[in-house]
């Protein structure tokens, strides 16, 4: 298997503060890597460096064979990085359907194979059909004509996932996919992610606080603290890792 993402010595300084020191790791294609660590450990910074929201102060990020270190976020997205946010970001004033339509049209535009003629201003039938299918797949079919701002927190997260999947990304970057969710929603999200993984074979990177989710989904777990990589390995290795237990997991593993 080839590596989907390779980070070599990446770090990010905000003025004199090193939010992320020197971190190197790689994720195999089709794998799920969970990034965990206490607040302020540098998870979000690492995430942003990978997605292109901030450029690294040093080090390189490669996506397959391509060096994307200096590439802006939209160009990375066009190359197959899909990203969801901790607090779901969707187009609030558009209906659920229109949200997905915009994403599908964005994908077609990037690929340069839009089925619509230049003068057609309505979305084409095939795009709408695909959007309906995408909504049905995440269980939002009955809310297709509801504007996103009226949706519940969990539904917005689902809709955001549909937007992201509509891009058919090779890599899914999920920033706390279950943050603020009820236990039922959380289980559904884990099921959804497992299904997506099975169906699309996408590589996934996620940050998460909920250890049930982390150990339920991840092939490998990475632990950060103070901007440094503490450990990376299989869930079993991480559970057994002494440094990690002392630092962060100790209590939860013991009581699990």
């Amino acid at each position: 298997m080839s590596a989907a993402i390779i980070a070599e010595g990446v770090g990010k300084n905000y003025r004199t503060i090193a939010a992320l020191k020197t971190v190197s790791f790689s994720v195999e294609a089709g794998q799920v890597l969970a990034i965990i660590g206490p607040n302020g450990a540098g998870k979000t910074t690492l995430f942003k460096v990978l997605t292109g929201e901030v450029l690294p102060s040093h080090g390189t990020v490669r996506f397959g064979d391509v060096d994307v270190s200096r590439m802006p976020a939209h160009a990375r997205a066009a190359r197959g990085f899909g990203r969801t946010f901790q607090v779901a970001r969707v187009f609030q004033n558009s209906t659920a359907l229109d949200n997905v339509v915009v994403a599908i049209e964005a994908r077609q535009r990037t690929a340069g194979n839009s089925p619509a003629r230049w003068y057609q201003f309505r979305a084409s039938q095939s795009v709408i059909a695909e959007a309906d299918q995408a909504l049905a797949a995440i269980g939002l079919a009955d809310k297709r004509d509801v504007e996103a701002r009226f949706l519940s927190h969990g539904d917005k997260k689902r809709l955001e996932m549909a937007l992201t999947l509509a891009l058919r990304p090779g890599v899914l970057m999920l920033d706390e996919p279950t943050a603020g969710m009820s236990p039922t929603d959380r289980n559904q999200t884990v099921e959804l992610l497992t299904r997506i993984r099975k169906e699309t074979g996408a590589t996934m990177l996620l940050t998460e606080h909920d250890m049930d989710v982390v150990f339920g989904l991840a092939d490998r777990v990475m632990v950060l603290n103070y901007g440094e990589l503490v450990a990376i390995g299989t869930p079993a290795e991480i559970r057994a890792n002494k440094a990690v237990r002392e630092l962060y997991l100790g209590e939860e593993v013991d009581h699990a």
Binding site: H74, A75, F91, R107, R109, Y119, K143
Partner: protein, 340 residues
């Protein structure tokens, strides 16, 4: 949009077109002149609202592009440049778009709200001062006696100086421009713009180059504003540097806010309403400003979505219609969800 509201819109447009086209037959020339101004100001306001309402960019200096178009056309007509009038309009619009693209390439680096507003405001004022110092552009006195041209259509010549022909010409061109903007706003390009307006970062993560789309929108808005200016010069026949000042830039903003910036036709409605207010108060100096101020205050406090938003809310109350919120209420509720 369902079939009924589609038919209703078509009927409204047809009625409006009939009203506009027959206007000279049943009103005074003074009113025809004012309606001509409303037509020009409407597309000026629409072009500003493409940025504000549909791209999420607030600019305070849109008059700079209008003045650019006015002066370019005014000088060309005054010097009787040997160029076909229709071609002149196209060239001025393209030059306005180029000017706008150059400005946009610089100012859009600082899109963080207030900075963009101040930079564009400065642009308008700078142009105002430059015109005031330029001999060719008539300094503070501006250019007067701009002739209305004759259009050679190969088979026939249309003299825009004669009768109401320039008025009908305005009706035609402004409708075409408004239609084109409408098509653009609701088409695929417009969908990307409206996505950027709602959440630029999310749009970037759909793989869209946000900066490029913003620049494209800025360029188009500038080109249309220049075209509005180009139509204005031969209509009023006298242009002054005030065309580029901040008051002039505020006009499309007030029009769009009054009519409703979220609605495509809002700026047109706002322009028309302002014209009616100004016209009915014309004998009482100062009162128009007061009334306009109070109306704006009421609109912002009571109906922040403008007159069109207010109309929309009333329409939802009609029998047989469901508001988006009530439509949601009709959905089956399965369980309560924990929202932190």
């Amino acid at each position: 949009m369902n079939a009924v509201s589609g038919t209703r819109t078509a009927l409204a447009i047809a009625a409006g077109a009939l009203l506009l086209a027959t206007l000279p037959a049943w009103t005074t020339p003074a009113i025809v002149f004012l309606v001509g101004l409303v037509l020009i100001d409407s597309i000026f306001a629409l072009s500003w609202n493409l940025l504000f309402g549909f791209t999420g960019l607030t600019t305070f200096g849109h008059a700079a592009f209008f003045a650019f178009g006015s002066y370019a056309t005014g000088v060309a007509l005054k010097m009787q440049a040997p160029i076909h009038f229709l071609l002149l309009l196209v060239v001025v619009a393209l030059l306005g778009a180029l000017f706008s693209a150059l400005v946009g390439a610089v100012v859009l680096r600082r899109t963080a709200g207030i900075a963009l507003a101040i930079l564009t405001m400065a642009l308008g004022e700078i142009l105002h001062i430059i015109i005031g110092y330029s001999n060719v552009l008539g300094r503070e006195d501006g250019i007067s006696g701009i002739p209305r041209p004759v259009i050679d259509l190969l088979v026939a010549k249309v003299d825009l100086q004669a009768g109401n022909s320039y008025y009908w010409f305005l009706c035609l061109v402004c409708s075409l421009v408004a239609g084109a903007l409408c098509w653009l706003t609701f088409g695929r390009f417009g969908r990307v713009l409206r996505s950027i307006q709602q959440d630029a970062e999310r749009t970037a993560f759909l793989g869209m180059n946000v900066a490029r789309y913003r620049l494209a929108s800025f360029t188009i808005a500038g080109g249309v504003a220049a075209l509005a200016g180009a139509l204005y010069a031969p209509w009023v026949q006298t242009i002054t540097p005030e065309l580029s000042d901040t008051f002039r830039s505020a006009q499309p903003m007030l029009n769009a806010l009054l009519g409703g910036a979220q609605s495509f036709w809002g700026p047109v409605v706002g322009t028309a309403v302002f014209a009616v207010v100004n016209f009915s108060m014309r004998t009482l100096p100062g009162l128009a400003e007061l009334v306009v101020g109070v109306i704006l205050l009421i609109i912002i406090l009571v109906a922040p979505t403008g007159l069109m938003g207010l109309l929309g809310k009333l329409a939802w109350r009609m029998p047989g219609k469901l508001s988006p919120r009530r439509a949601l209420g009709k959905l089956p509720r399965c369980r309560k969800k924990a929202i932190p």
